[in-house]
């Protein structure tokens, strides 16, 4: 028996649309559940008091500080490397074996699972270089994790700057480096910022890398060599050891909402940027 193609089409379309609806429902469920259960916990005291009794009581202040330090350090290290790579790839070379090697390195690095980065950071930074479980070890390991994101987004942003801009600079007698610093980079800045913001988002949520490089000390870190427990690690420990369900939900709410806001801003920024040049 031959089914009318229009009937098949109707059936398939309904199936595919319900799949999409299902996926959206999962996303909504996650956001709503975390907000409803978590947001009531998030008060000024929760945000600005250090945890007491392993996180059973008190707030999450020290974890916010640790998260901020580690993320800032990671971005500080990864940004020049990533943007530099992107400038080199787009402005200084044609496709050659060396660009292929660089791209291959960045693509593979993007695929390296975070637990492997954790192992690596643990053996190199924590053990061999003697930084111990610290903000420094955690920041360095995270920098490697976010490097491919920054490279990819910056490259895309720099490529979006119209070629005429460069030609005009050249005709005015600017050197390549002057062209880059005075024209290309300022134009590409919103796009580059997007990559950096996405990296901040990823750093906030990362756990596996930091568990073995930054450690899980609850004290507020005061130096690069102090161990620090980030929000994500704190949430993991609260949830896994069943220390406090309300505080786990509260931490999750702060974490998820900040990440979603950061990613949303990054996305809007990139869209607006791309529209300007197309």
């Amino acid at each position: 028996m031959r089914v009318d193609p229009r009937v098949t089409q109707f059936l398939v379309k309904s199936l595919l649309w319900s799949m999409t609806a299902f996926t959206l429902a999962i996303l909504l469920f996650i956001i709503i559940n975390i907000s409803v259960e978590g947001l009531p916990q998030v008060t000024a005291t929760f945000l600005f008091q250090p945890p007491h009794d392993m996180g059973r009581a008190g707030g999450i202040f020290s974890t916010i500080v640790a998260t901020a330090y580690i993320t800032f350090l990671a971005i500080l290290i990864a940004s020049p490397l990533g943007v530099g790579t992107a400038i080199y790839l787009t402005e200084y070379t044609r496709e050659s074996w060396i660009t292929r090697v660089i791209r291959f390195g960045s693509e593979c690095l993007a695929g390296v699972p975070s637990i492997i980065l954790g192992l690596f950071g643990f053996v190199l930074f924590v053990m061999k270089l003697g930084f111990g479980w610290s903000i420094l070890s955690g920041g360095l390991s995270l920098a490697i994790m976010v490097l491919p994101t920054i490279i990819r987004t910056s490259e895309e942003a720099i490529k979006a700057v119209p070629q005429e801009f460069r030609l005009v600079c050249c005709s005015l007698g600017l050197s390549p480096w002057q062209t880059i610093t005075r024209v290309v980079l300022p134009c590409a800045l919103p796009g580059i910022t997007t990559g950096i913001m996405l990296s901040v988002g990823r750093s906030l949520g990362e756990t596996a890398v930091l568990l073995f490089t930054a450690g899980a000390a609850l004290r507020t870190p005061t130096s690069l060599f102090d161990s620090g427990r980030t929000m994500a690690v704190h949430f993991y420990i609260l949830a896994r050891e069943g220390i406090s369900m309300p505080n786990a939900y509260g931490t999750a709410a702060v974490l998820v909402i900040s990440i979603l806001l950061i990613n949303l801003t990054a996305y809007t920024l990139m869209q607006r940027f791309l529209r300007r040049y197309s």
Partner: protein, 279 residues
């Protein structure tokens, strides 16, 4: 002009940072892990399921099998669901709706894996325990959570692949009297094949390398699973659970586990790169 030359050199050095990091990672993981594989023997390490670090037994077969099964399960859920969403967004949805839905689905990617794991424990584990039996923390739970986690990656790359198919292919097919679905199934999907396969391979890499969510929901039992309701411990969970207190041979064994994981991921990455390049 010397300054320009210097800047170019400097940028080249910066540009080599990613490949250098990759090399350093490879070197250090292998340096730490290989002595154990040498000591235990590769076959013994890979094909024994006896893992008892205190008694000097380091066999990771159970974890390899668990990792593969959890990943397979995640693909069974994630690939059709992700591909379905991608087809709807790229082919069926009106432009306006696509502009809203695409970034919304990308937000799924931003949610940290610990949150997926946590919600898995709170909602999925009791559901599976009550309705299907077993401890709830199981291979099935792990596979379901991972299947959801790889969705953004599969959707994102598949949409790009579908969008890259020239509009004229669709017009030609419609002009021949094919329905929209026939066009998608027989013209667009085959044309976007390599991109979709890349999406699936990278999703697989993501699933097999995921750690925190799996630790939280899969139960971490050290045996080869005989049912999908059995608790399992994957390669990644094994490293994360024991690295905190391991030392000596035991620590080496965890790095050796890392080598196995690393090799699997690199093979997947290589194949993805090859497929993309052939296009």
């Amino acid at each position: 002009m010397n300054r320009e030359k210097f800047i170019e050199r400097l940028l080249l050095v910066l540009a080599l940072s990613s490949i250098t990091s990759l090399l350093l990672i490879t070197i250090f993981i292998f340096l730490e892990g290989l002595p154990l594989i040498w000591h235990t023997g590769l076959t013994n390490f890979l094909f024994s399921d006896h893992w008892a670090p205190t008694r000097g037994r380091f066999g990771i077969l159970a974890m390899i099998i668990s990792s593969l099964l959890v990943t397979l399960g995640a693909m069974v859920l994630g690939v059709p669901l992700g591909l379905g969403c991608a087809i709807v967004l790229a082919e069926f949805a009106p432009r306006r709706l696509k502009l809203i839905l695409k970034p919304t689905l990308e937000l799924l990617a931003g949610i940290p894996s610990v949150v997926y794991g946590f919600l898995g424990v709170v909602w999925l584990v009791p559901l599976i325990r009550d309705y299907l039996g077993g401890p709830g923390l199981s291979l099935l739970t792990g596979a379901l959570i991972l299947g959801i986690m790889i969705l953004p990656m599969i959707i994102g790359i598949s949409i790009d692949a579908l969008d890259a198919v020239p509009e004229s292919y669709r017009q030609g097919s419609i002009a021949l009297g094919a329905t929209q679905w026939q066009t998608v199934a027989r013209v667009v999907l085959p044309a976007a094949r390599s991109g979709i396969i890349t999406a699936i391979i990278l999703g697989m890499g993501r699933a097999i390398g995921e750690t925190m969510a799996v630790i939280m929901v899969a139960g971490n039992a050290l045996k080869i699973p005989t049912s999908i309701l059995d608790p399992v411990r994957t390669l990644t969970s094994n490293i994360a659970l024991e690295l905190g207190y391991a030392s000596g041979r035991h620590r080496e064994a965890l790095f050796a586990t890392g080598i196995v994981l690393f090799v699997i991921i690199m093979i997947l990455n290589f194949s993805a790169t090859l497929i993309t390049r052939r296009k």
